[in-house]
Structures are given as structure tokens and as C-alpha cells.
Amino acid sequence: MTGSAAGGGRLAANSAQARQDIAALQAALAAEQAASYGYGVVGSHLTGAKFTAATAEYVAHERARDTLTAMIAARGGRPRPAAAAYQLPITVTTNKQAVALAIMLERQVAAAYLGLVAASDPALRTFAAQNMRDAAVREARWSDLPQAFPGLPASSLRPARRG
């Protein structure tokens, strides 16, 4: 594997990886955009400390959205714009439903960073893992429940081996 052919192959592989990285960044961006929108709904149904918490999370998702937008642009990609409105997974009319929605939004965000954790660029991996962790932590603050494998689909877990 020497010479210009291999070099060209490496270039092609690099650009394929760069495209994959941008696609993973776009997926994370879409989730952050949806979460920003969703938290607007969450906050409007909460009061007191929970409202304050929802506002802080809303700001966190907006920041992540802006960071992702800049990262995509810096890699020569075109950040996909947010939708004007999002179909929420549940109808929210009570504060209990608002908390349930916040939990769902954080789950979606954690899962959306999983692809980016597999990126070729180590800096992207770290960034993604930290954001996935932040989403899991925010979810736990709403739910008070542990989670063994945040962001991971059950299909990626191995069945228990005997013996």
C-alpha cells in the first residue's frame, strides 16, 4: 500500500469520513433544534423551580445548537435550518406531561449524539460523548431514575453469555 494510488485512496477515504462526520453532526443538530423547540413548550407548562430548570436546559440546547452549526460550517457543510414547528411526541397540557416531554427530548438528544461518538475525529468523539452525557444527566434531573445505557439502542447490547 504505497505510492500515489494508495495516497489517492486515503484522500477518498478521508473525504468519505469527513462526509460521515458532517452527517453525524447534522443529526445531532436536528435533535438539538427539536429540543430547543420542545423546551419552549415544556417551560410554558411549568412554574417555580421547574420553570427555572427548563429555562436553563433550553439555553443549554440553544448553545449546543449554535456550536454544532459552527462545527458543520467549519467543516465545509451547510447546517440544516430548524423547522418552523415540530410534531411533539406527546400532547402537553399539564406540568406532569411537560416533565415527560423534557425526558423524551433528552433521550432523543442523547441518541442523536451516538453516531457522532463513532466519528473518526477524536475531538468530535469527545465532544459527542460529553453532550450525550449532559443529555443523560438532564434527563435524570427530571426523572430521578438511573439508566444503564443512555443513548444506546437495545439492539447494540450483547445478550448475557452463560458460563
Binding site: 442523547a110 477524536p122 468523539r125 435524570a140 430521578d144 438511573p146 439508566q147 447494540s156 447490547l157
Partner: protein, 180 residues
């Protein structure tokens, strides 16, 4: 955009092929084992860290059982015991998943059984127990994230997920409770 979750990730801890082909002559005839790669070293380190965490929770659990609960036999002690039991179960699940990704050549696996790590002594008092566990969880979470660069994509995803789970544990340990 997740990496194929079904793809089998096999990390051979040494030249598995060589050992298998050598048949039943034993490990001594093979000479020195080849150095394991960075991915294997990282995975082993993650397994050891998780074993230590399981041992820590088990010793805390034993201490709580012996004393009838860190907060006494009342409600506070009971909820701490529930929290510890639930978090221990999650660490056992982490350990199982990490171990499933390390494929040792059978002879090597039996040749050097790893000693189980010894946890630090359990402090006195529920608050100190929970605080020390939270500190250990936070450090373990950071260490996993710091090592993502050295492993294949699927293992990076598992390690990142476990790091997130450990950070969630920190939240629950600091609150000292769990929803049920």
C-alpha cells in the same frame, strides 16, 4: 447515523490465531506473547475500572446490610439501600457488556485469571458513603471519555454510554434518592 450495532466487534487480546494453531502443547512453547493493541489495553482498563466499581458497591451494600441501613432501619436507610442496589445492578450490566467485547484466546484466558480488585474501605455514615461513590463515579466517567480515541467506533459508543450512565449515578447519589 449510528455505527452498525449488530457488527461483531472482536478484540483478540493476543494473536489468537497463533495460540489456537499451536494446539495442546501449552502456552510455554509459544514464546513471549505479542503486545496487545491500544484498543485491547483500553478495553481491559475499562473492564478493570468497572470491576472495581462493582466491588465498591458490593462492599457498601454489605456494610449497609450489616448496619441495618446507613440511615438506620428507617425510610432514609431503606431508600439508600434501594439506590445502591439499583446502581450496582447497572454496573454489573456495564461489566457484562464490556467483557462481551473482549475475546481472549481460551488458553490465555485461563492461564492468568485476573484477581478481583479490592475496593477502598467503606466510610462511616450515609452521607459520606454517597459522596465518595459520587466522586468515584464522576472520575470513572471522565476517564472513559478521555479514552475514546483509542478504540473502534462501536466500543467508543458503549464506553460513552457507560460514561453517561455513571454521570447519571452522580446526580442520583448527590440527591441520595431514586424515583420508584
Amino acid at each position: 447515523m449510528t455505527a452498525e450495532p449488530t457488527r461483531r466487534l472482536v478484540l483478540a487480546a493476543a494473536a489468537a490465531g497463533t495460540l489456537t494453531l499451536a494446539g495442546c502443547k501449552g502456552i510455554s512453547v509459544l514464546g513471549p506473547l505479542p503486545k496487545p493493541g491500544a484498543d485491547v489495553v483500553t478495553l481491559r482498563r475499562a473492564i478493570t475500572a468497572e470491576e472495581l466499581m462493582v466491588a465498591r458497591y458490593q462492599s457498601v451494600q454489605d456494610a449497609l446490610t450489616a448496619s441495618g441501613g446507613a440511615g438506620g432501619p428507617g425510610k432514609a436507610g431503606g431508600s439508600a439501600r434501594t439506590l445502591i442496589a439499583d446502581l450496582l445492578a447497572e454496573h454489573q450490566a456495564h461489566l457484562l457488556q464490556l467483557r462481551a467485547r473482549l475475546v481472549l484466546p481460551p488458553r490465555l484466558a485461563t492461564a492468568s485469571p485476573q484477581p478481583s480488585p479490592t475496593p477502598p474501605p467503606v466510610p462511616h455514615g450515609q452521607q459520606r458513603i454517597l459522596t465518595e461513590l459520587a466522586t468515584a463515579e464522576a472520575a470513572a466517567s471522565d476517564r472513559l471519555i478521555a479514552q475514546l480515541a483509542h478504540v473502534p467506533p462501536e466500543l467508543a459508543q458503549l464506553m460513552a454510554s457507560i460514561a453517561a450512565s455513571e454521570a447519571v449515578h452522580v446526580v442520583l447519589l448527590r440527591r441520595g434518592k431514586i424515583a420508584r
